[in-house]
């Protein structure tokens, strides 16, 4: 009797172990399907012509996504210029003043901002920039994306700087260095790996964001470098062309998806490798 019960319990344990392994591995299956499908559908569309030409109107075959590629890069670049200094400074404040009241509220706001749906940030950017300026613009899209980058940069900066030993800071002060030089010349260089990986992750996250751009950058079928005019971007192009009924446009969207996917995944993997390398050195 007893041995039967023990066997039953061991069997149950083995069963659940198997189930866990099965379910855990099953999670990866959809990702692999998606990757393979998109690479298969997209990679054949990508060539030099695709990368350097503008999209053709419906009915004409060919055409490319040059405007979306350039637009995406410009919008992300401007967003980074806005968000990176702001985010790093805020992270420094939070790590230097752990206990102050302002730090508490500021940290709470970062937490809130991290959970805000991207579409809501799009709405807010619409009312802050698009309406006062009288039209959709790439700049408003950049601001919306910058708001989305902030929490990631602030969090990673704060977490990295918190881990540094106090003796570093004290050694700096003991040499008579003023506060800003201790922070900028001692503390930030020591934590630069964590800060940079946060920045890269935030760029990777906003590179694929569509929802905040719907009412801000809006999209544009032509090549445009004007920050105050609507601008096309890769995710917007994918959304617009994927939901259109034309097969030519679907092909363009598959190619664009493939490029966006490779871009985002490469950024993520690169960040991981980078942090791992730096962690070994530390």
């Amino acid at each position: 009797m007893a041995s039967n019960h023990v066997k039953y319990r061991i069997g149950k344990s083995t069963f659940f172990k198997g189930l866990t392994i099965l379910l855990a591995c099953a999670c990866v299956v959809p990702l692999i399907f998606i990757l393979i499908y998109i690479l298969q559908a997209g990679i054949t569309k990508i060539n030099w012509h695709f990368l350097t030409n503008l999209p053709k109107p419906v009915g004409e075959t060919g055409g490319g996504i040059a405007n979306a590629l350039l637009g995406s890069m410009i919008i992300i670049l401007v967003a980074s210029v806005i968000a990176i200094p702001f985010g790093i400074l805020c992270g420094i404040y939070l790590s230097e003043n752990k206990k102050s009241k302002l730090a508490y509220w500021s940290r709470l706001c970062v937490d809130i901002l991290q959970g805000v749906p991207s579409i809501v940030i799009g709405i807010v950017a619409y009312f802050w920039l698009v309406k006062p300026m009288g039209g959709f613009s790439a700049l408003s899209g950049s601001v919306a994306l910058a708001i989305m980058m902030l929490p990631i940069i602030i969090r990673s900066t704060e977490e990295t700087l918190k881990l540094l030993p106090d003796s570093l800071r004290e050694a700096g002060f003991a040499l008579g260095l003023p506060f800003h030089r201790v922070v900028l010349k001692v503390i930030v260089p020591c934590g630069i790996s964590g800060i940079l990986s946060g920045v890269m992750l935030s760029v990777a996250r906003i590179a694929g964001e569509t929802a905040p751009l719907l009412f801000t950058a809006f999209g544009n079928p032509y090549l445009s470098f004007n920050l105050l005019k609507p601008m096309q971007s890769l995710p917007l192009l994918i959304f617009n062309y994927a939901t259109s009924p034309y097969n030519d446009w679907h092909d363009l969207a598959w190619g664009a998806s493939c490029i966006l996917l490779i871009w985002v995944l490469a950024l993520n993997i690169f960040t991981k490798l980078m942090t791992r390398k730096w962690k070994v050195q530390l």
Partner: protein, 329 residues
């Protein structure tokens, strides 16, 4: 060689030797220089500290600004529809009737269905990585791959679902005898479920890592099997952490826009079953915001955004609180 070192020492203005020889005329010059420089540094220090405080304040102002903007822009709709907005059953912009019930129902249906599907998978990943195989190349690979799930842009999930998942769901629907639409709440829940796996999984994994090993060893020494330890020690110990992971996933699912917009079918009718097309709050905003042609319509859409904002903020705050309480214990 030696002479060059000497000249370097002599010409360096902030060298300690300068202080010793302060009686010399060059010495006084360097002293005033040094004083000037320290004043400059003190000023710079003040400026720097002030900048930091301003930046931290700006963060608070930014979030308050988001909230205030949403409230102000939706007052028109709040005034005209009142609290009944939340359970009004018709959404008809042409006749100026705005009831958010179909969208709230659609949001809740897709999110909870997605959560229901994804929980077994994310818990399996958490237990796999936290307890069964915490180290090793395979678990490292699995961990990184699961994190990559969160990295894929939602518009790509949407496009893939539109091209691959929707036809599969359509043939499944025709097999079980429902009207085969394909687009609908069920498809969106499926794709959402894939997208939210990593959030609960990574939090759960780090929580399971924190279970003290003497608790587990005590259970083993009493003769418990692996599964009994997981069920009777690890799950009760990490209960709040696992729940917080579910909440964070739910927050993601509620606010997810693009993938859902592409496969939910976009109709303002109340969904009759989980296979019917519908709309979520986020997808209505994405679809109709640029088409809203009169102020009340626009304001009603923003009120949807406000509701979405408040709900996700509350859910996320509760989740974060639970995590921080757990890690402090």
């Amino acid at each position: 060689m030696e002479s060059s070192v000497d000249t370097k020492l002599a010409t360096r203005p902030n060298d300690n030797l300068g202080r010793v020889a302060s009686l010399k005329p060059q010495g006084t010059v360097s002293t005033t220089k040094r004083i000037k420089r320290s004043f400059r540094q003190i000023r710079a220090e003040k400026v720097f500290r002030r900048t930091l405080i301003i930046v931290a304040l700006a963060m608070v102002v930014l979030v308050l600004g988001i909230m205030v903007t949403l409230v102000i822009e939706s007052t028109l709709s709040i005034k005209s529809s009142g609290i009944g907005y939340l359970w009004g059953k018709t959404w008809d912009p042409v006749r100026d009737i705005f009831g958010a019930y179909p969208f709230i129902l659609g949001t809740l249906l897709t999110s909870f269905l997605a959560l229901f599907i994804s929980i077994p998978f994310s818990f399996a990943v958490a237990v796999f990585l936290g307890e069964y195989f915490p180290t090793g190349w395979f678990s490292n690979l699995l961990k990184n791959t699961v994190e990559l799930i969160a990295a894929v842009p939602s518009v790509i999930y949407g496009f893939w679902a539109l091209a691959v998942l929707v036809p599969i769901v359509r043939s499944f629907e025709s097999k079980i005898g429902v009207e085969p639409v394909g687009l609908g709440i069920f498809s969106s829940a499926l794709i959402l479920a894939v997208m939210i796996i990593p959030y609960a999984a990574s939090l759960g994994r780090s929580m399971i890592h924190m279970v003290p090993s003497n608790l587990k060893e005590a259970a083993y020494s009493l003769g418990a099997t692996r599964w009994e330890v997981i069920r009777a020690v690890i799950f009760p110990y990490t209960k709040s952490g696992l729940f917080a992971g579910i909440l964070l996933s739910l927050g993601r699912a509620l606010g997810e826009t693009m993938a859902v917009t592409m496969v939910i079918g976009n109709t303002s009718l109340i969904p009759k079953s989980i296979f019917a097309p519908g709309n979520t709050m986020a997808s209505v905003i994405a679809n109709e915001f640029t088409e809203a042609d009169h102020p009340v319509y626009l304001s009603a859409l923003i009120e949807l955004g406000l509701v979405l904002f408040l709900v996700t903020v509350v859910i996320n705050m509760i989740g974060k609180r639970m995590v921080s309480r757990f890690t402090n214990e």
